[in-house]
């Protein structure tokens, strides 16, 4: 039997080590808590987001759903639905819209009306789940007073809304209250009911919002009379929402994995030290008759127990981090991809379990080498036995590994195409850097050593070189954190510059006005035309197409200096604008160019009879869709039913407010019908900030963890250092001098690390903008460098080192001469 009564005593003896070495215990705890918290926090975010995507897909909002929509977002007539069914089309209608209550507090609900007979009874595997319970009573769903399915919170809001309402929502057409049924599958303020009630409440009599195509292999063409009103959207898996957002989550996951590794480095250094210091304890235990296997089982049990206990606060912290980042994440996902993420975090038991598993896996991984050494039972009596001399065979072994890693990185850089290979490349670059770091620091210190001939100078540099073996892990953590900061910071900052500049170019007109109808558009035009302060009125129009089964947007603009001078083009033919104006040429956004591998001069077959020549490619950040721009005449010529878009107005900025007031007075336009440039920019920039808020926060956390790693290494080291410094002190160097040397040495090592982090960070940033971003988002960014950031980060590395050095220095400052003497004696 492996586990015996004696095991309890062995465990007790093993665990007592940690109480005697609180610094090691705290290093272990901080490392493991940080690793677990950051990893599980990001996983919680990802899980929450995926759950929301699934819900959205269930609620038919997925871009992955085959469907029919009205041309120009017009509702679909009930007759057209019936006609399609009678032609054998497997479609089911949806009625969707927003409802608000008049009462205070005012609530806004998203209503989905379904037709359960056609939706729920399809044999097709494409049939979407509704989020309705399997025990739905169809009879009650379809019979007065009808049913409304909603979340518990929404139910409360609707119950309030019942008060004081005589007719209309939330009463049914008979003036009765419908039955409110609670389903957890529905998000707050989302309601699902029969199509009849939805049409009544949304005043969409005889109209449907869209038709879901329940079988996307259904390949019949639309009959002619319907094709002028409806269009079929067959999804392409490349463009489904989860794939788009997957890139985003992969970014976060990669960052959390980095944090996890930095945390594990700390766990490793604590374990390594603890295992070494406990060798005598192991000998005592084996001397008491506990065999090696038994001891190993006890050590493993100890590790699992300890890490499970530490993982719990780690998971709680992870939960907290996730709830803290979730609002930003949901805003940016909604803005970037139109994906809705529920802002209330709800976690599954699987998440807790996975967190615990990660903590265990991490602990075991970090303890693997120390454990193997324990198994080999190498004698290790000397206190400096674990000091590694990087100039020797260890150094050349590290160099070989670094060369292999660098070669692999080059191979991946040349052959990889996917996002995952992009991250693999980053991982290999990091590995190479981590392997090289101790060697490089050692070389720099050796150079320093060569410059000093005095005994004290020699000792200083040689001693610093010896410390590297103790600090290597913490320095690697610092290097990774610093270079990630430089890389990610550079990417975000570069993106911000590009984005703001792009917005300035793109939003060149001062005001954008959108008309509700053609009639209003005509009136607006006539009115604006008479106003002198309006220097130009630039109409636009839009239409939707499906090209290679991908939905794309066609935009028609009036070619004008506003666009010619400002529109942000990535590449163009010389006479691009005149070709667009006179020859029906088009320009396309970067996303579409990459998707369809189109270049200048290629043609794009937008309609069955005509191809359009591509004369320019423009950047279009934040748009997941492909877009084609052409002159408004070209658009109307080929798509006479194109929808009237907004007017861009060139106005003297001073007269902007008065023009807006007059417009509102004359046309009583809604808030979203008149947008000024500043408001749009402001919204876009806020969206941008939130997109990278999570990235930046994680980045800071990683840096924090690395600083703590440095601190704990120094604390561990300080007890060893005493014995090493005692002889120097005994030779007559004062404690103040020793403290100064200690501090300078550490700051110098931190500085070298920071200096090495800068080129590494630049390399990372280059990979992010030219490899990761292109593969994740579909657009490339110019690579920009920000020396100010480097300065800040170097400073923060030095401050981290300074803070980390304070406790050991104070320890030295207040060590009694007796203690130093004792250290000196022990060393003998």
């Amino acid at each position: 039997m492996l586990f015996q009564r004696s095991s309890v005593w062995v465990l007790h003896a093993l665990l007592s080590h940690w109480w005697k070495h609180p610094v090691q215990l705290s290093t272990l705890m901080v490392g493991l808590v940080a690793a677990t918290a950051l990893w599980s926090g990001v996983q919680a975010l990802n899980q929450q987001a995926r759950m929301s995507y699934d819900q959205a897909a269930q609620r038919f909002n997925s871009l992955n759903q085959a469907q029919l929509t009205g041309i120009n977002q017009q509702p679909i007539a009930q007759q057209d639905y019936v006609q399609l069914r009678r032609l054998g089309w497997p479609v089911t209608p949806l009625v969707e819209g927003q409802l608000t209550t008049d009462l205070s507090p005012q609530y806004s609900f998203t209503l989905v009306g379904i037709e359960p007979m056609t939706l729920l009874n399809t044999e097709s595997a494409q049939a979407p789940a509704t989020g309705l319970p399997t025990n739905l009573s169809l009879n009650q769903f379809l019979t007065p007073p009808w049913e409304v399915w909603l979340s518990a919170r929404t139910k409360e809001a609707v119950l309030q809304a019942f008060e004081g309402v005589d007719t209309g929502f939330p009463l049914n057409p008979l003036g009765e209250r419908p039955n409110l049924r609670v389903s957890n599958a529905l998000a707050d303020y989302e309601m699902m009911t029969d199509i009849y009630l939805a049409q009544y409440w949304l005043e969409m009599d005889q109209q449907h919002s869209r038709l879901l195509l329940l079988q996307d292999t259904f390949a019949q063409p639309l009959p002619n009379e319907l094709s002028s009103r409806l269009r079929v959207i067959i999804p392409q898996s490349d463009h489904d929402i989860s794939r788009l957002t997957e890139s985003f989550h992969l970014n976060l996951t990669a960052l959390s994995l980095l944090a996890y590794l930095v945390g594990l480095l700390m766990v490793y250094s604590a374990m390594h030290l603890a295992m070494n210091q406990r060798r005598s304890l192991y000998r005592v235990i084996t001397a008491c008759g506990i065999d090696q296997r038994h001891l190993m089982a006890c050590v493993l049990t100890e590790l699992l127990l300890l890490s499970a206990l530490i993982a719990l606060p780690g998971l709680l912290l992870g939960y907290w981090i996730a709830s803290w980042l979730l609002p930003d994440l949901s805003t940016s996902l909604a803005g970037l991809y139109g994906a809705q993420v529920d802002a209330n975090l709800s976690l599954t038991s699987r998440w807790w379990f996975q967190g615990l598993m990660m903590a265990w896996a991490g602990t075991l991984l970090a303890s693997l080498l120390p454990l193997l050494r324990l198994l080999n039972n190498k004698p290790n009596n000397r206190p400096d036995a674990n000091i590694i001399h990087f100039s020797g065979s260890v150094g050349s072994r590290l160099m070989t590994l670094a060369l292999i890693s660098a070669t692999a990185a080059l191979a991946v850089a040349y052959t990889g195409q996917s996002l995952l290979s992009g991250f693999l490349l980053l991982g290999l670059i990091f590995t190479t850097a981590a392997l090289l770091l101790p060697l490089l620091v050692d070389k720099v210190l050796a150079l320093g050593q060569a410059l000093f001939s005095s005994a004290l100078g020699q000792w200083l540099w040689a001693d610093a070189r010896l410390q590297i073996s103790h600090l290597a892990i913490a320095l690697i953590a610092l290097l990774l954190a610093l270079s990630t900061s430089i890389g990610v910071g550079g990417m975000v900052e570069g993106f911000r510059h590009t984005f703001v500049g792009w917005l300035d170019q793109r939003l060149a007109a001062e005001v954008y006005v959108r008309a509700d109808s053609q009639q209003q558009a005509d009136e607006l035009y006539a009115w604006l035309d008479q106003h002198e302060q309006v220097k130009a009125i630039l109409p636009s129009a839009r239409a939707d197409r499906v090209l290679h089964q991908t939905p794309i947007e066609l935009r028609g603009i009036q070619v004008h200096a506003t666009y010619v001078d400002h529109w942000p083009l990535l590449s163009r033919m010389d006479d691009a604008w005149s070709q667009i104006e006179d020859q029906g040429a088009v320009m396309i956004n970067e996303q579409l160019a990459r998707q369809l591998a189109l270049n200048l001069g290629d043609s794009i077959p937008l309609s069955t009879d005509t191809s359009f020549s591509v004369v320019a490619i423009y950047s279009d950040y934040g748009n997941p869709k492909g877009q084609v721009m052409m002159s408004i005449e070209t658009l109307y010529q080929h798509w006479p039913h194109a929808e009237q878009g907004s007017f861009a107005l060139r106005v003297d900025p001073d007269q902007l407010d008065s023009l807006k007031d007059q417009l509102n007075e004359h046309f009583s336009l809604g808030d979203n019908q008149v947008l000024d440039q500043l408001a749009v920019k402001d919204f876009s920039i806020r969206l941008f900030e939130r997109t990278f808020a999570a990235t930046r926060a994680l980045n800071l956390l990683v840096l924090g963890v690395a600083s703590i790693a440095l601190l704990s290494s120094l604390l561990t080291l300080s007890s060893l250092r005493l014995t090493q410094m005692a002889p120097v002190w005994a030779s007559g160097v004062s404690r103040q001098q020793l403290m100064f040397f200690e501090l300078m040495r550490l700051l110098f090592i931190a500085l070298i690390t920071a200096m090495l982090a800068i080129p590494l960070g630049l390399l990372i940033s280059y990979c992010l903008v030219t490899v990761i971003n292109v593969r994740a988002f579909g657009w490339a960014l110019p690579w920009q460098i920000f020396p100010q950031q480097w300065f800040n980060l170097t400073l923060s590395a030095l401050i981290s080192a300074l803070l980390a050095a304070i406790i050991p220095l104070l320890k030295l400052r207040f060590s009694s001469p007796g203690k130093l003497l004792k250290g000196f004696r022990d060393d003998q």
Partner: protein
């Protein structure tokens, strides 16, 4: 097809399955497919009705359920034999008055099947009344659900056309009425149990059929005989009736025979039928005149179903054994049942259709 075809039940089943299956508090004892459920508020089936053709083809929305049922035994030019089924069920989920548009309480269910010796294909469609996706039009009869249709080609409905399509198959047949319509039971009042449950029931057993069947890429020209059943009721089954076995037979001598057995939970099954001579005279059969004995059972869809039968009518010197064209004629639809073409031999021979529910 019948009557009792269980279709009705299907429908009900549908209801039960979809609607109530879900609400667990529903009573379980409602007979097959809920056809034994109470019918409060709906029109009741009474003796001595006046049923005429083609008016009987019209819908009867005041009754809770009804169905239009077509079966055909067909043969291609090359001698390949087929069975075809086309059914439309209507069920009201609440009694009159009729509500308009999407609020309409009529629910529609369509089933189609094509059977040959090696294959049995089927499909189903669901629709709501009130918007035109499914329904009945008169005076020139037209019944449809989605793109499946059964319609008269003239106002007297002497000629009809039936068609349906689904993934992998489609068919269209024209039907010519060559004999009179037949009122089942007592002038169309067809009793279904000793407790008095009944339906109105009319059949068109004399129909010549011709048309085409397409399976995958292959199209067959076919001819043969068809049978149409019209039945409506508000509570056609007794609560403890679990299912039925129903036959429609085209005898080679031109006579027709309809037989069914409603199975009670505890024996004492209820038997009924009509013997129809080739010249159109109908002879209702009393329960004691009918002997129906299941022979071989066949395992299909995990159930044991009696696919061969021994049928005896002493008063008509009829003693035959029936065999299925394809024993796997299982309609794995929302409400599942066995329905397929059969042949029979003995004192008489011929072809027909068999429907078995509640297995």
């Amino acid at each position: 097809m019948i009557s009792n075809r269980f279709i009705a039940s299907l429908f009900l089943l549908l209801l039960i399955k979809m609607i109530s299956a879900c609400s667990q508090e529903q009573p379980t004892s409602q007979g097959f497919a809920g056809l034994g459920a109470e019918a409060e508020g709906f029109a009741q089936v009474m003796p001595n009705p006046t049923i005429t053709y083609p008016d009987a083809l019209n819908m009867h929305p005041d009754y809770r359920i009804e169905w239009w049922y077509v079966t055909a035994n067909l043969e291609s030019d090359s001698g390949k034999r087929f069975g075809v089924q086309w059914t439309l069920f209507r069920q009201a989920n609440s009694p009159a008055p009729q509500r308009e548009g999407w609020a309409n309480q009529q629910l529609w269910l369509g089933h189609v099947g094509i059977t040959h010796a090696d294959q049995h294909l089927f499909a189903e469609r669901y629709a709501r009344g009130g918007i035109g996706q499914a329904g009945i039009m008169m005076p020139q009869f037209h019944a449809w659900i989605d793109d499946w249709s059964l319609k008269a080609l003239d106002e007297e409905a002497q000629f009809l056309a039936v068609s349906a399509a689904d993934e992998g198959f489609h068919y269209q047949l024209s039907l010519s009425k060559t004999g009179p319509y037949i009122l089942q039971g007592d002038q169309g009042f067809s009793v279904k149990s000793d407790q008095g449950q009944a339906s109105y029931y009319m059949s068109l057993p004399f129909l010549d059929a011709e048309g085409s069947i397409t399976l995958g890429d292959e199209t067959f020209s076919v001819t043969g005989q068809a049978w149409i059943d019209r039945e409506w009721s508000s509570q056609p089954l007794a609560e403890d009736q679990q299912g039925w076995d129903w036959f429609s037979l085209h005898l080679d001598n031109g006579d027709k025979l309809m037989l069914f057995r409603l199975r009670h939970a505890h024996e004492n099954h209820y038997f009924s039928g009509t013997y129809i001579s080739a010249n159109g005279n109908a002879y209702p059969l009393r329960p004691e005149q009918i002997q129906m004995r299941p022979l071989t059972e066949h395992k299909v869809a995990g159930r044991q179903v009696p696919v061969e039968w021994h049928l005896t009518l002493d008063d008509h010197q009829l003693d035959v054994t029936t065999r299925p064209l394809n024993p796997n004629s299982w309609m794995a639809t929302g409400i599942a049942y066995w329905e397929g073409p059969i042949t029979f031999s003995g004192t008489h021979s011929g072809r027909g259709y068999l429907e078995m529910t509640g297995y």
